[in-house]
Amino acid sequence: MNHIQQSAFDLVAGLKAGQFSAEEVADSFVRQIERHDTAIGSFLRFDGQQALQQSRTLDGSENKRDGLAGIPIAIKDVICVRDQVTSCSSRMLESFLSPYDATVVEKLRQSKAVMLGKTNMDEFAMGSSTENSAFQPTRNPWNPSHVPGGSSGGAATCVAARMAPLSLGSDTGGSVRQPAAFCGVTGLKPTYGRISRYGLVAFASSLDQIGILAHDARDTALLLNHCVGHDPRDSTSASVAGEDYLAGLGNSLEGLKIGLPREYFNEGLNPEISASLDQARATFEQRGVQFVEISLPMTSYGVATYYLVASCEASGNLARYDGAHYGLRKTLPAENRDRSENELLRMYRQTRSQGFGPEVKRRIMLGTYALSSGYYDAYYLKALKSRRLIQDELKQAFQQVDLILGPTTPTPAYKTGEKSANPLDMYLGDIYTVIANLAGIPAISFPAGFSAEGLPIGLQLQGPAFSESRLLQATHAFQSQTDWHQQDPQMTPAGDPS
């Protein structure tokens, strides 16, 4: 029996009931990966034998009924797994072996999930297309000439291509939700502080949050249950207790108020996405949801605010990659040396120039500039104030409405290479997603249609801090009514005649 079409929720039920074994489950996904990943490129490192071995051990143990026992999970390569390479898709960390487990990985081990491997991403999570990986491209399973989105491109595609039922990504400005939208899967960015960041390699610490990619809201809730909780190792970890996100999933939406921000509907929004939004509104209304038009004028400042804050923090977070204590070290051959420069400085500059790709360098440059003396007030400080206004505006909006609905992205997945020449264009694609990171609120992207070209369309719900339950309930209700999330891409395995 092939298990790849089953939801993680059903897999848990089947495994608990003894209908099939963890090894059978692992085997289905391992074979799917072996069949399709050459073409898709989701995984940077995948160890099928290890996954099968782990499942077999589990089948023979008394832990086989634990929380996520036997459920295969893929991990974005920005999350540390002990004694394994954590590269962040960067030359800088190509052979870096993490000496420790991220808190979320510890939790998954305790839940007895089966780790399939590490997924591809934009280098250090900087990018929206996974084109910035130093190692390989990742293709959109719906159309290989299109990007999968990013930075969690590998994490989204492996779920879309049914190579993993669940995966962990990270979302700093939309890096879970945007690839989820591009690949037709469900992607949740929880409230800032909901899932421990300990072991998540930092891009922009005040924006980063580990997120979940799955087929539907129910699977998302299942995995979320096993990831949340206060972590004393993360000072920014929320002390608000986690909930059983599965428990209230079927609650009625009767009386729920959803806001539609006027500012989301501008000339930049693709008409097909706009149409999906209208359709979705009708679906929600059938479930008793009341829609309210609201105004969020700070929306237009989101991208500028985000790129300043994120780049400034990144310039500090990435200073540790200097060739001294771990990771790549580069020096110049003696004949090319400028003798006036000291050797240490030369090592720093060579290592960082050869170890980082162009997008990472660009953001480090931008952040360094915006923090440097004379520019701090005009850029960094100004951005922090704008960020306050954005958060305040959302807090006010949530006095009026329970959730906010909008597009996840202005367009469906674009073609590979289409935007790589124009970074600002690519940044502008993050307009709908960055707000949630700036405000620290949770947001979820869910499949809501297809473009005429056959590319998935995603919509986003945002809620106030710690409203994950409500977001998941609304998404679940929508998914009970629609089947967009159940569509599968037609894939041609590498080597198969097409």
Partner: protein, 489 residues
């Protein structure tokens, strides 16, 4: 121009390692001298994905120190990143405090009982909590091309105490540092071991020069690597002299010249210019997003305040008032440290004479400790035994010289004072026996009686000596009293 036409202006930055079990942001130990890189973990080596969590004790020790230095304690404090690249700084930034340090403005009073400078308050700008860097070892002798990096010290909590430029001489600088160090030791917040780098001093120094009708300032020089108080004094002397020479040669003022950094070379007793970084320091401070702010309540401050030991200045005052000590004596005793001062107080209480106790502490005890290079904790005579001895001297049961004999025995044996006195044959002589001796002496020395009556009271001196020869336990004061009584009678 004469030398006395300029004034040295000095501000000091002192980095103090706080005495915690674990580092500021991780659980690694802070023990000095461990094998290289054995007190590190993913957090303090700046591994990707790791996060800092603030040590509560370090925060409390900072508040305690701030209170002792009369600082305003911030109700809201936060952490910032100071960005620079150096191999002993594995994250590429130091977690420090920029605009909201734990301790705001304060002051430390300094004075000199010898009155070489007038008592004054050295104002403090601030004191902030930050993490220490690791150590770079460059072994030139071995000729190795590489610098070796040990990260054991990385992340040790440091309190950086910054003074206003209120210091005007090397002597004041030493007094300030002495008082600060003493205060830290009394509080128990740091061991202040300069050899081990628990207390490190940087000095900012320039000159204010009287030039015709106006005062001009020379460019500020920061002197690093001052690893003893002596070095601070010598470096300030050297540097003021050097700046004076340079001013006379070049005439560059504060406004015209940049701040420079110089290192103190202890072997050559001079400061030398340190190579500047390739880029002028631009640390790009910004709030550390990995650490949340700290709020400090009035209640918390009061709890810490009430747990504080008595500070040196208050103790000196108390010793002067309660035991009638001079400022000088109080300073000598208090400056020996808390244990020494406690020992003194026991002796003073037992003996009933603070002054006498102070003399014995300085001559007897301190003399011995210095000679043997011991701390008061290893002094062989308990405060009770010494107190008993001083009491007997105070009560006239012993004179000073017999007291010294007993003291010697106290050092060498475990015997009690009474037992030693017995062994040495010291016992109280009753008055009738003394009177008999005195009568005999006066009868044998009529010329002394004559001289005394003729207005030379000092003439009876030799008789006191003779009385002691006849009976070594004779108390000289008592003998004098009896002799005079007999002559006058």
């Amino acid at each position: 121009m004469k030398k006395d036409t300029y004034q040295m202006i000095v501000g000091l930055e002192v980095h103090v390692q706080l005495q915690t079990e674990s580092k500021l942001f991780c659980g690694c130990r802070t023990t000095f001298g461990s094998s290289p890189n054995t007190q590190t973990c993913p957090i303090c080596t700046g591994m990707p994905g790791t996060l800092p969590v603030l040590n509560r004790k370090a925060l409390e020790l900072s508040i305690k120190t701030g209170l002792a230095m009369n600082c305003e304690i911030s109700r809201f404090s936060k952490w910032d990143r100071k960005n620079y690249f150096y191999p002993d700084l594995p994250k590429g930034y130091q977690i420090s405090q920029f605009d909201l340090p734990i301790c705001g403005p304060g002051w430390i009073a300094i004075s000199d009982p010898k009155e070489r400078f007038a008592s004054k308050n050295i104002r403090l700008i601030r004191a902030h909590l930050e993490e220490d860097a690791g150590k770079s070892v460059h072994d030139e002798v071995a000729g190795s091309a590489d610098t070796r990096i040990d990260l054991n010290r990385t992340g040790t909590p440091l309190l950086e105490i910054v003074s206003e430029p209120d210091i005007r001489s090397p002597l004041e600088a030493r007094a300030y540092l002495t008082e600060l160090k003493l205060m830290l030791e009394y509080l128990g917040v740091s061991d202040c071991n300069m050899q081990e780098g628990s207390l490190r001093v940087d000095a900012n120094v320039n000159l204010h020069i009287e030039d015709e009708d106006s005062t001009v300032a020379t460019p500020i020089v920061e002197i690093k690597n001052l690893n003893s108080f002596r070095a601070v004094e010598r470096a300030l002397e050297f540097e003021s002299d050097r700046q004076w020479q340079q001013w006379q040669r070049e005439g560059i003022t504060l406004e015209q010249g940049a701040k420079t950094t110089r290192g103190w070379n202890d072997a050559e007793q001079k400061t030398t210019i340190q190579r500047e970084k390739e880029d002028s320091a631009d640390y790009r401070y910004f709030p550390d997003p990995d650490l949340v702010p700290v709020t400090i309540s009035e209640e918390q401050v009061n709890t810490i305040r009430s747990s504080m030991n008595e500070l040196p200045a208050a103790l000196r005052n108390r010793l002067c008032k309660k035991h009638g000590l001079s400022d000088y004596d109080a300073e000598v005793i208090v400056n020996q440290g808390r244990e020494f001062a406690e020992y003194f107080q026991s002796v003073a209480d037992l003996s009933g004479s603070g002054k006498l106790a102070a003399n014995w502490m300085q001559q007897g005890v301190l003399g011995y400790l210095k000679e043997k290079e011991l701390a008061i904790s290893s002094f062989p005579v308990s405060a009770t035994r010494l107190g008993t001895l001083v009491r007997k001297i105070q009560d006239g049961e012993l004179d000073n010289s017999r007291g010294k004999d007993v003291f010697e025995k106290l050092l060498q044996t475990d015997l009690e004072v009474e037992a030693i006195m017995k062994e040495l044959g010291i016992e109280a002589v009753d008055d009738s026996a003394l009177e008999a001796i005195c009568q005999d002496l006066l009868a044998a020395n009529p010329q002394v009686v004559e001289a005394y009556r003729g207005g030379k009271p000092q003439a009876i001196g030799p008789l006191i000596g003779q009385a002691k020869k006849k009976n070594p336990n004779a108390n000289p004061g008592k003998v004098r009293e009896i002799l005079i009584g007999l002559i006058d009678g």
